[in-house]
Symmetry: C3
Subunit: 330 residues, 3 copies
């Protein structure tokens, strides 16, 4: 297991900049979530909603914030227990599990490819000709990166992802229903991007499809040709973004959303799961539904939708009453 | 072709525990569905709805149940014609088409990997370090299994699937919008599971993502970190299950459904296609829609939704009539 | 970059069968879309909607139709500027970028495989036994083609696609909840088909799953066993088509649509994005929604859906007024 710590509470407190209350020499064997923790583990309480678990968790110590009641348990107090947890996870990852940099012997690297320092390219990765990859980037097994794609530094690409496949472009030409429009552009993936497993990102027709710095893309997302995604966006699993659509910075697109082509989504906007945006959406919005409208409106409409049978019944009753009134009045 | 039988009706009847009515020495060349069957084939009639095809099928013999009218055709009678068909298909598969056990020379196997007996690992499969695989498991070409993943016996994983990619976890830390939370857990795939092509199953943050014994997962399904799927579930294509959600046993999730994170779906529950469950759903339910509600309610609401234009018109008429009545009454 | 032309306007005009207005000796360095074009580029104006860009584009020359106002800019006039653009793109692709035919040394080719002339099979492709592939077909890296699949001529298959994985078929047999039904059929991909990245196409139970001539399939599409897709269809990203469903010719299925199993979609029919068809749909229709109904009806219903809160309010007002009238009338 990779969550083995074997550190004392005092050592852990030093790592996360916290303060022990309890026996600083207690040896902690591993780290776990509060529900699955077992004896010997350290865990964390980040959400006050779960504070009742503090009494029942089998963990031997808990990372808590500066105000929380420790219930007599050994604890490490720190400003932000979740960040404390992340720091321990990072320590474990760096020391136990990060793949060593290097290019696996089964990887296939095209001609004129420029590779940065300290990169990791796992088994059966295929990089096309003229690809560029920045420093410290990690490409997991079975990824395909097509010709001329440019990938920045500190990027992580998960298994099976395809970067730079042809955009989906066809046009009728004399008797050919769907003549292929050559896709001669490329894809630019900026620094600090993470791309999930089996994601597909198409190359531009001309120019580039762009994934902005720090953006995180979950598994099985489809990004069509000439899409521009800004910086620090979050694109959750199974989203589909149609051609030439642009996202600003810090946009969040929840799972299974579809975006029409040639539209703009403004900075900081959130689109809730399974929605479909069919036209431009401004910045700082939270939208939902198909077509996507402000979340509060959509929630109201959804609520009334559930009252449709009742509304229909009321309408029938009103009709009856009106007929009765009309009769009375002749 | 792999559906070539070249067996007599008598031999086939023995194989499926049935009884010939017709010439037991008739040689059957192949097996097919009732619509596509050609002369020389055997087919089956499992659904009374299709009994008219019994007269028109080009098949030379038909597997039927004990009560069906054979229409003067050569038949094999058996308790369950569909199971008879499956038995013949299994016989053909075992004798003609099952890949021979072995590890293809292009497969890349990590360190400290424990492989069971009689396993088949096809070309370009990549298994990470410390992976465990049980007996008789079949992993098709181009699959990625990441470090420390545990796979049971009699499991089938189709091409391009990714088991154990990082969960999608990020948190803001001082100036970094989306700091990666290391994903140090793993995935446990229990015995008798089948996983479709290009499926993605993420590893847990800590602990495990679990696919219970006998569960079948169709193509392009996304399963996020720390999801727990019970035994004998059926997850149809393109479903997305968000983090930490748990499914009981024998749950059926139809195609393109989305499940929110941190919810529970009870045993035997069915969620119909394209629905979205946003909160816990009890056992033995059949739910539909977004948010998913009992199917009958959703069907009723869908029906009234289609009557919205008519309802709107009625409301306008009632308004007019009321105005008229109000006028009359001064 | 692959969009480098270095041709004179006169040479380009000859290539696209157009007529120069301006200096025929002007050297054009590259080709781009009208928005991203820079000095030295040629671009095109295909849509009158964008004619204002003709004044502002940085391109040095523009391909326009025979009637458009050239605004004093150097132009090439041609009947169809978009086709002119496509012709230049094809010229560039053929001369600069098409992978050379050949089979990469890391590709794994099964036994009894029949390969046509002039085919390209990239790195880490896996072809099963008894596969057939026609002339000029291009299979990109990391594709899996399973045993006995038949692929026509001039087909393009993008990275990570899986052709011929097992159909998703299970049946309960004495105590086994989901006994696998062997999938012994195959997949037939006809000439001129294009299949996107990470697409999955399942083999038939018996018989074949068919992708008709000239059909184009976008990324991450799921096609289940025994589906029949006609000729010249367009299937956009993330569509899911359930088992045994058939599509006529020239059908368009927009992104994220789901089709139920065992239904028929008629020739030339269009299904709009994110819809779900649950029963047969005739030819020459444009349908939308879930269940899919004629687009105009669905649009009307969607519009009224947004007026639900207002309708509910009106109903309450009418109820109040009727109560008042009833009171008045005793």
């Amino acid at each position: 297991m990779s969550n083995i710590l074997n550190m004392t509470l005092a050592q852990i407190a030093r790592l996360i900049d916290g303060k022990v209350e309890g026996d600083p020499g207690m040896v902690i064997s591993g780290i776990s979530g509060i529900k699955e923790a077992k004896k010997g583990d350290i865990t964390f309480l980040a959400n006050a909603r779960y504070c009742s678990l503090l009494k029942t968790t089998k963990a031997s110590a808990i990372i808590i914030d500066k105000k929380a009641d420790k219930n007599g348990r050994p604890v490490i107090r720190t400003d932000n227990p979740y960040i404390g947890f992340v720091k321990i996870m990072e320590y474990l990852q760096i020391n136990k599990e990060m793949p060593l940099p290097g290019i696996h012997k089964t990887a296939v690297i095209g001609k004129n490819t420029k590779l940065g320092k300290n990169i990791t390219i796992e088994a059966h990765v295929v990089l096309g000709n003229d690809v560029q990859i920045g420093d410290n980037t990690l490409i997991h097994a079975n990824v395909s990166v097509r010709e001329r794609v440019i990938i920045g530094s500190n990027v992580i690409i998960h298994n099976g992802a395809v970067i730079g496949s042809d955009g989906f472009g066809f046009t009728p030409i004399k008797g050919v229903f769907h003549k292929k429009v050559p896709q001669l552009g490329t894809v630019v993936v900026e620094d600090d991007v993470e791309i999930g497993a089996n994601v597909t990102i198409d190359r531009a027709t001309t120019g580039r499809t762009r994934i902005g710095k720090g953006t995180k893309i979950d598994n099985l997302v489809q990004i069509a040709h000439n899409v521009e995604i800004g910086e620090h966006c979050v694109i959750v699993a199974q989203v589909g973004i149609s051609g030439s659509t642009t996202l600003g910075n810090k946009v969040t697109i929840a799972g299974q959303v579809g975006l029409a082509g040639h539209i703009k989504i403004g900075d900081n906007t959130i689109i809730t799961a399974k929605s479909a945006a069919t036209k431009d959406i401004g910045p700082n919005m939270c939208v939902s539904g198909y077509p996507a409208i402000p979340l509060k409106e959509e929630q109201k409409i959804k609520a009334y939708r559930h009252r449709l049978p009742e509304m229909h019944k009321t309408i029938q009753e009103l009709s009856r009453k009106i007929r009765a009134l009309e009769k009375k009045l002749g």
